[in-house]
C-alpha cells in the first residue's frame, strides 16, 4: 500500500509528475473517446440517447484505470469482468484481435442480464499490457417479458439469455455462431446486431488509443505512469475521506416490495470513517428476495462508489486506486450480495435505496452534504402489435421520481436520482414510434415531502394504448413506504399505477406486475414517488410556501395543514396571513 498523503509520491526514477499526469490524461481521453464512439455508432435509443452504457480501460492485471460512466450504476459494472474472462481464457492463449463477451452477473457480467460487456486485450511489443472494455444496456435479451426486466422473476433463468465469457471476435473476425445465438434470443434482433457491432467498434478505437499511449511513452514509463495514476486516485479519495468526521454512522431503510409481494425488506448500513479509510458494512440487511430486486456484489459496489463520489468529491476520477480507500462488506445471500440463481433484473430499484440509506447515515456526520430520501423511477413497458404497421413493438420506458430536499435547498422536481440517470423519450417521438397517445405529463402537486426545505415533486403520466394484443410490465418501488425525511422533514408521497384513472372503471394496479393485458383505448397512469423533506415543515419560510402555492406545487390546504401557513386572497394576488400563520404554528408547537 502506498503513502496516502496528497504530496507527489510518484516512483520518481521512472516517471516525473507531469509525464505521469499526461499518461493519465490520455487514458481518460481514450475511455471518453470510446464512449463517444459507442454512443455515436450504437443503433438503439437506449444507448444512443439514454446513454445506458459505459466504457473503461484496465491494466493487464484487471485493475481499472479509466472509466466513463454517465449512469452511476455503471461505476462498477465492469469490475470483475477481466478476472472472469482471464479465468476462462488464460492470457497466454489470447491473441491480438480477440474480444470476449459476457452478460451473466454471476460470471463477470454487469449487474443484470441486459448489460452486455465486450472486452479485448491490448498489446505493445508483443506483450499483453491492457484491456479495453465496454458495457451497454440492450433493451431486450429474451426472458419472460419484453425488455427483460421484470420485478416478479424468481430466478435469473427467467430473465433472458445467460452468457459466461465467450469469444465474440477472433483475429478481428466476428464469431458468427455466438452472434446468432444472441440474436435468436432477443425480441429485437436488428437493434441487437447494430448495438453489438458498435460495441466491437468501440473497443477497436480504445485499443488503438491505448497502443498509441504505449508507443509514445514506451513500456516502462507508461507502466510507471499507470502506478502513479492509481496512487493519485487513492490519495485524492483519502484526502476527501479525511475531511469527514471520524465515527460510526448507522442507518436503515426498507425495500417495500420484494417484486412478488409487498413486504418490508431491511436495507441497512454501518459506515465507519476512520481517518482516511471508510468501511461500508451492510451486514443485517435482508436475505435475498424472491423477486428480481437483488443486487449482485458489483452492483452494491456501484452504489457505494456513487455515494462516496457524491459525498466527498463529485469529480473524483474512478480508478482502482480510489477503490482501495474503501472497504465494503455484504453477507453472501443477502439483498446486497445475491447468489445464483437469484433474479437481479430490477436491481436498480434497490440501488436507489442504497443511495438513500448511505446518505441517511452520513446525515449524522455531514448534514450539509446530503439529501433526504428520494423518489425512485417507475418502469412501465408497453408491448404489442402496432396497428399502423402490423409490427410487434416494445416501448421500454422509465419515469423519474424526484430528489430529496437538502439542508438549504428544495429537492429537485422530476429527476432521476442516485444511481440511475437515463433521459426520457419525448412525447412527440413516442407517439410517432409507438401506438400510444400520451394525455398528460406533469408534476404532482403536494407530492413532495414537507419540510423546512421541500422534497421534489413526482411526475404523472397518462397513456392510452392503441396496441393490438397489448401487454404491460410495471415495476415501482416506494409504493408502500415513502422516501424518508431528514431532521424532521416529512416523507415523500408514494407512487402508484392506475388503470383507467379518473373513470368509473379506475383500478389500482400492483406495484410490480408482468404480462398484464391492456385493451385498445384504455389508459394507464403512472404516478412516481416524490422526494422527502429536510427540517421541520413549520420552520419553512412562509414566503417559500406562498411561492409554491402560486406555482401550484403546494395546495392552499396543504400550506395550512402541512406547513401551518395561512394564505389568503389579498386584493388581486395571494398573500401570507402573518397573524393566522403565527397562530397556526403556535398551536402546533403547544400540542
Amino acid at each position: 500500500m502506498t503513502s496516502a498523503t496528497a504530496s507527489s509520491d510518484f516512483p520518481a526514477q521512472k516517471v516525473d509528475a507531469i509525464t505521469a499526469e499526461v499518461i493519465a490524461h490520455r487514458l481518460r481521453a481514450a475511455s471518453e473517446e470510446m464512449m463517444a464512439t459507442l454512443v455515436k455508432t450504437s443503433y438503439s435509443p437506449n444507448i444512443k440517447e439514454r446513454r445506458d452504457c459505459s466504457t473503461g480501460i484496465f491494466d493487464a492485471q484487471g485493475r481499472l484505470l479509466a472509466l466513463t460512466a454517465i449512469a452511476p450504476l455503471h461505476l462498477s459494472s465492469l469490475i470483475g469482468t477481466i478476472e472472469n474472462v482471464i479465468a476462462r481464457f488464460p492470457k497466454d492463449e489470447m491473441r491480438p484481435g480477440d474480444a470476449f463477451l459476457v452478460n451473466d452477473p454471476y460470471h463477470g457480467g454487469g449487474s443484470h442480464l441486459p448489460d452486455i460487456t465486450i472486452t479485448g486485450p491490448v498489446y505493445h511489443e508483443g506483450r499483453l499490457v491492457a484491456f479495453v472494455a465496454n458495457i451497454a444496456h440492450h433493451s431486450d435479451v429474451g426472458g419472460k417479458v419484453p425488455g427483460s426486466e421484470s420485478s416478479d422473476c424468481t430466478s435469473i433463468f427467467q430473465e433472458g439469455i445467460r452468457l459466461p465469457p465467450v469469444r465474440i471476435l477472433e483475429n478481428d473476425k466476428v464469431c458468427q455462431d455466438i452472434l446468432n445465438v444472441i440474436l435468436l434470443n432477443s425480441r429485437t434482433p436488428r437493434e441487437r446486431e447494430g448495438d453489438l457491432k458498435a460495441q466491437i467498434a468501440t473497443n477497436i478505437v480504445g485499443c488503438r488509443r491505448v497502443q498509441e499511449i504505449f508507443d509514445r511513452f514506451g513500456m516502462d514509463t507508461t507502466l510507471a505512469g499507470i502506478e502513479a495514476w492509481l496512487d493519485y486516485g487513492e490519495a485524492r479519495a483519502r484526502v476527501g475521506i479525511r475531511a469527514l468526521p471520524d465515527g460510526v454512522y448507522e442507518n436503515e431503510d426498507f425495500v417495500d416490495h420484494d417484486g412478488i409481494v409487498p413486504r418490508l425488506v431491511r436495507a441497512c448500513v454501518k459506515v465507519t470513517v476512520d481517518d482516511e479509510r471508510m468501511i461500508f458494512d451492510f451486514t443485517g440487511s435482508g436475505a435475498q428476495m424472491a423477486g428480481s430486486r437483488n443486487m449482485v456484489w458489483n452492483a452494491t459496489l456501484a452504489g457505494v462508489y456513487y455515494a462516496v463520489k457524491a459525498l466527498i468529491d463529485p469529480d473524483l476520477p474512478p480508478n482502482a486506486g480510489y477503490f482501495r480507500a474503501i472497504k465494503v462488506i455484504a453477507t453472501p445471500g443477502s439483498i446486497f450480495n445475491a447468489q445464483s440463481p437469484a433474479a437481479v433484473g430490477d436491481r436498480g430499484s434497490t440501488g436507489n435505496v442504497i443511495g438513500d440509506v448511505i446518505f441517511g447515515a452520513f446525515a449524522k456526520a455531514v448534514p450539509e452534504r446530503v439529501m433526504a430520501g428520494c423518489g425512485p423511477l417507475h418502469g412501465l413497458t408497453f408491448s404489442g402489435i402496432d396497428p399502423r404497421r402490423g409490427e410487434y413493438f416494445v416501448n421500454y420506458e422509465t419515469y423519474a421520481g424526484a430528489s430529496g430536499a437538502q439542508h438549504d435547498q428544495d429537492g429537485k422536481d422530476a429527476v432521476r436520482v442516485h444511481v440511475s440517470g437515463a433521459a426520457n423519450l419525448p412525447v412527440e417521438a413516442a407517439e410517432h414510434e409507438f401506438p400510444l397517445s400520451i394525455l398528460r405529463y406533469e408534476l404532482i402537486p403536494d407530492s413532495g415531502g414537507a419540510g423546512r426545505f421541500r422534497g421534489g415533486l413526482g411526475t404523472l403520466r397518462e397513456v392510452v394504448s392503441w396496441a393490438k394484443e397489448g401487454r404491460l410490465v410495471g415495476r415501482g418501488l416506494r409504493q408502500v413506504v415513502g422516501a424518508p425525511g431528514l431532521d424532521g422533514g416529512s416523507k415523500g408521497r408514494t407512487g402508484r399505477f392506475l388503470m383507467d384513472g379518473g373513470t368509473p372503471e379506475e383500478q389500482r394496479l400492483e406495484a410490480n406486475f408482468s404480462d398484464l393485458p391492456i385493451e385498445v383505448g384504455h389508459t394507464v397512469r403512472i404516478e412516481t414517488p416524490a422526494g422527502a423533506g429536510f427540517g421541520a415543515p413549520f420552520t419553512r419560510d412562509p414566503a417559500r410556501v406562498l411561492a409554491d402555492v402560486i406555482a401550484g406545487k403546494v395546495s392552499l390546504a396543504a400550506a395550512r395543514e402541512a406547513y401551518g401557513v395561512s394564505i389568503v386572497q389579498d386584493r388581486r394576488s395571494l398573500a401570507v396571513d402573518e397573524k393566522e400563520t403565527a397562530a397556526l404554528r403556535r398551536v402546533s408547537h403547544a400540542s
Binding site: S8, P314, V415, V427, S437
Partner: protein
C-alpha cells in the same frame, strides 16, 4: 436589401462587433480594400453608446463621411447577455392541457450525476404563467380537439395583472398541424396589440416538444429586449447620418435584417463567435486555406471550430443558461481554459490548469496587481515566450520575478521539479486539454485532423498553437493580422440567411416522394415569402436543401444535403443509398434496415459581394529590418536559446524566416519553435510550417 456593397468607389463598409469588454470596429474602403481597425471600451448598459463613439472615431481615422458608409454589419451580445443574466421579458406560455410542466420535467436528468448540490436551472416561464388549453393533435385513435376562444380569453384576462410582455404558444405536434397555433396566435395578436407573440411552428417546426418549447419561450423572452435594442440602435445610426441600416449577425453565420432579428432574436445568440468563424473562412479562402481549425484563445476560454472546404460545421442544438436552444448554428466548441487559467495542485497531487481564471482583475501574478496564483501567462513570461518586461506595446509592465516566485513555490517545489520544467508542465497540461477539445470536434466526428491548418488567434492563440498543432499532426499554423479583425471582417462578408425546417416522419419507400414533395413545397413557399419581405434581388437568391434521416427505430438523425426537387421516387432511392454511405463514413457500418426521413430543411441565402482587402506590408525583402532585438526563450528539450524578436507589422511579404522566433504585436505574441519556419502572406497572415 442591397445585394451589392460595391456600388460606389467612394463608399466604405463598416463592421462592428460589440463584446463584453471591447467594441471592435473595422472599415474597409471599397476603392482599394484598405482596412481600418479600431477598438473602444464597451458600454454594457446601453451598447449603442460605445458604438456611436466608435463610429465617430473610426470615421475620423478613415477620413470618411457618415453618408459614405454603404453597408453596416453588426454583431451583438444583447441576446446572449439577456439570457445569461436572466433579464428577459416577462413571458407567458400557452400550451396543450396536461403538458405545462414539459419545461420543468425537461429530459428528467439531474444537472450533475454526482454533484447533488447543483440545483436545476430556473424555468424561463414561471409555472403559474404556463397556461393550458384543451386542444390536441392526435397521431392516431382520437379526433383532434380545436382550441377554444373562451378558454384563451380567461388566460388573457390574467396577463394584465402579471405584466406580461410576450406570449409563446406551443402545442403538441404543431410542426405537423400548425393550424391550432396559428388560430391562437391570431386571437392573441388581436387581443394584445404591442405584445410580442410567437408560435413554436414559426420558430422551430420540428418535433421533440421540450427542445421546441424551450427555444420558443426563450425567443419570446428576448423579443421585447431585442426590439428595444434595435430601436435605440436605429435611431443612433440615423442621427449619425450613416448611409446604411444595421444588419445583425446570426449564429448560423448569415445576417438578418433588423426586421428579421426582431422577430427571431434567438437566432442572434453567440453572434460574435459566429462572425469570427465567418471572418476566418473569408480570410483563409482569400489566402488559399480551405480546411481549418480555428483556435481562438482568450483569457478564460478557448473557442474551436472546424471548417472543411471553407464551410464551417453546423450544430443543431446548444444549451444557454441551462436550457436548450435548437436551430442550425455554427458549431463553436468552447473549452474553459485560456491564457489566464490558474495552475494548481489538486488533492491527489496532480497539476491542474483551469477552469478557474485570474481574469482581468487581479490578473496573472506577473501583472503585479496582487494576483498570487500562477497562470498560463506567468508560465509564458517565465519561459521568455512572452515579453518579460512589458506587454501591450510597453503599456503594461511585467513582473517576471513575481511570476517565477509563484511558480516556484506553488508548483515546482511541491512537484519536485525545476521551475522551468514546472512552467513547461503547465503549458503541457493545458495543451492536453486543448488537444482533447480538438479531438472531440475532429476525430470523434470522423474527420482526420492532419489535413487541416490551425488558425490561431485571440490574445493567447498564436502563443500556444505550436505544441497543439504538432500533437495533432496538423500541417501548418496560420496567424491572422489581428485578433479583433476576424469578427469585424466576418460581419462584412456574411450573406443574408434564414433556415427553414419541417418535421415529416416518413419511411423512405414507395409513396414517400409525394410527402417529401409536399414538405418541400411548403418550405419553398416560406422561403419565397422571406425573399420578398427582404426585397432580395432575384439573381442573388439561393435555396439549399437537406434532410435529416435515420434508420427505423433510431432516435438520432444525420443531416444530408439533397439536390432540389422534383422529389420523384428515384430521388428517394438515391437518398436512402446516400444515407447508408454517410452512416458508414461516420459510424463505420450501414444497417440492413429501412431508412426514415424525419425533417426536411431549406436554407435560403441572399449573396453579398465581398469587399476587397489589403493589409499593407513594408516593401523590403530584408527581415532584419523587422528585428527588434533578441532574448532568451525556453523550449522543451532545448532549454533557453537566444531568439530573435520581430515586429509583426514590419515583416516583409513572402520571405521565409527560420525559427526560433518571437513575433510581437500590440495584442498578441506568436512563437515559432526551433526547426520551424514562417512567412507573411499578402493578406498579412503569418504562416508557420514545420518540415
Amino acid at each position: 436589401m442591397q445585394a451589392d456593397t460595391n456600388n460606389s468607389n467612394n463608399s466604405f463598409v463598416l463592421g462592428i462587433d460589440v463584446g463584453g469588454t471591447f467594441t471592435d470596429l473595422v472599415m474597409i474602403r471599397l476603392q482599394d480594400g484598405r482596412a481600418f481597425l479600431h477598438k473602444t471600451p464597451s458600454t454594457p448598459a446601453d451598447p449603442s453608446l460605445a458604438m456611436e463613439r466608435g463610429i465617430t472615431e473610426i470615421l475620423v481615422s478613415a477620413s470618411a463621411a457618415p453618408a459614405q458608409v454603404s453597408y453596416f454589419g453588426h454583431g451583438t451580445t444583447v441576446a446572449t447577455n439577456a439570457l445569461i443574466e436572466g433579464k428577459t421579458a416577462n413571458t407567458a406560455l400557452i400550451t396543450t392541457a396536461g403538458f405545462r410542466d414539459i419545461l420543468e420535467i425537461r429530459r428528467q436528468r439531474q444537472p450533475h450525476n454526482y454533484n447533488i448540490r447543483i440545483p436545476k436551472p430556473v424555468s424561463p416561464v414561471a409555472r403559474h404563467l404556463r397556461c393550458e388549453m384543451t386542444e390536441r393533435t392526435f397521431l392516431m385513435g382520437r379526433e383532434n380537439v380545436a382550441p377554444s376562444r373562451v378558454e384563451l380569453d380567461a388566460h388573457i384576462a390574467g396577463f394584465d395583472r402579471a405584466e406580461i410582455a410576450s406570449v409563446a404558444v406551443v402545442f403538441l405536434h404543431s410542426y405537423q398541424n400548425p393550424a391550432h397555433e396559428m388560430e391562437v396566435v391570431e386571437w392573441l395578436r388581436a387581443a394584445l396589440p404591442g405584445k410580442f407573440i410567437c408560435a413554436s411552428h414559426e420558430v422551430l417546426a420540428e418535433f421533440r416538444e421540450y427542445e421546441r418549447t424551450s427555444t420558443t419561450v426563450l425567443n419570446a423572452g428576448l423579443g421585447p429586449v431585442m426590439s428595444r435594442y434595435l430601436d435605440q440602435l436605429e435611431s443612433r445610426v440615423k442621427s449619425l447620418g450613416l448611409g446604411a441600416k444595421p444588419n445583425i449577425q446570426q449564429s448560423n453565420g448569415g445576417f438578418a435584417s433588423p426586421r428579421e432579428a426582431g422577430h427571431r432574436p434567438i437566432c442572434t445568440l453567440a453572434s460574435g463567435p459566429a462572425a469570427g468563424v465567418i471572418g476566418a473562412v473569408d480570410l483563409s479562402r482569400r489566402a488559399g486555406f480551405r480546411d481549418l481549425i480555428t483556435f481562438d484563445v482568450g483569457g478564460t476560454s478557448t473557442d474551436v471550430c472546424l471548417i472543411e472546404d471553407s464551410t464551417p460545421l453546423i450544430a443543431r442544438e446548444r444549451e444557454v443558461a441551462g436550457y436548450p436552444v435548437r436551430f442550425p448554428m455554427i458549431d463553436v466548441h468552447s473549452v474553459g481554459a485560456g491564457g489566464g487559467s490558474i495552475a494548481w495542485i489538486d488533492d491527489g497531487g496532480f497539476l491542474q490548469v483551469g477552469p478557474r481564471s485570474a481574469g482581468a482583475d487581479p490578473g496573472p501574478v506577473c501583472y503585479g496587481r496582487g494576483g498570487t496564483e500562477p497562470t498560463v501567462t506567468d508560465a509564458n513570461v517565465l519561459l521568455g515566450r512572452l515579453n518579460p518586461q512589458a506587454l501591450l506595446n510597453g503599456r503594461m509592465p511585467i513582473r517576471a520575478d513575481l511570476a517565477r516566485e509563484a511558480i516556484e513555490s506553488k508548483i515546482a517545489r511541491p512537484l519536485g521539479l525545476s521551475v522551468e520544467d514546472a512552467a513547461e508542465g503547465i503549458l503541457l497540461i493545458l495543451n492536453e486539454t486543448m488537444v482533447r477539445a480538438i479531438r472531440v470536434t475532429t476525430v470523434e466526428r470522423g474527420y482526420d485532423p492532419r489535413k487541416f491548418a490551425l488558425l490561431a488567434f485571440g490574445g493567447a492563440g498564436p502563443l500556444l498553437a505550436t505544441p497543439l498543432a504538432r500533437e495533432l499532426g496538423l500541417a501548418r499554423i496560420v496567424v491572422p493580422p489581428g485578433p479583433g479583425l476576424l469578427c469585424a471582417l466576418g460581419l462584412l462578408v456574411a450573406d443574408a440567411r434564414r433556415d427553414f425546417s419541417r418535421t415529416r416522419i416518413v419511411p423512405l419507400r414507395n409513396g414517400a416522394s409525394t410527402l417529401i414533395g409536399q414538405a418541400a413545397t411548403e418550405l419553398s413557399t416560406q422561403a419565397d415569402q422571406w425573399f420578398a419581405d427582404e426585397n432580395a434581388a432575384k439573381a442573388a437568391r439561393s435555396l439549399d436543401w437537406a434532410a435529416d434521416l435515420r434508420y427505423l427505430g433510431q432516435s438520432h438523425e444525420i443531416t444530408l444535403p439533397i439536390v432540389q426537387g422534383p422529389f420523384d421516387p428515384e430521388v428517394v432511392t438515391r437518398l436512402a443509398e446516400a444515407f447508408g454511405r454517410e452512416h458508414t463514413r461516420l459510424y463505420g457500418y450501414a444497417a440492413d434496415a429501412p431508412v426514415e426521413l424525419v425533417t426536411m430543411r431549406a436554407t435560403a441565402r441572399v449573396a453579398m459581394s465581398r469587399p476587397p482587402l489589403d493589409v499593407a506590408a513594408p516593401i523590403t525583402s530584408d527581415p532584419s529590418a523587422a528585428q527588434l532585438g533578441s532574448r532568451m526563450v525556453h523550449f522543451p528539450g532545448a532549454g533557453f536559446v537566444k531568439c530573435p524578436i520581430y515586429d509583426r507589422f514590419a515583416i516583409p511579404e513572402d520571405v521565409t524566416i527560420a525559427g526560433p522566433a518571437v513575433v510581437e504585436q500590440m495584442d498578441t505574441t506568436t512563437i515559432v519553435f526551433p526547426g520551424h519556419r514562417f512567412q507573411r502572406d499578402k493578406f498579412g497572415n503569418l504562416v508557420i510550417g514545420f518540415s
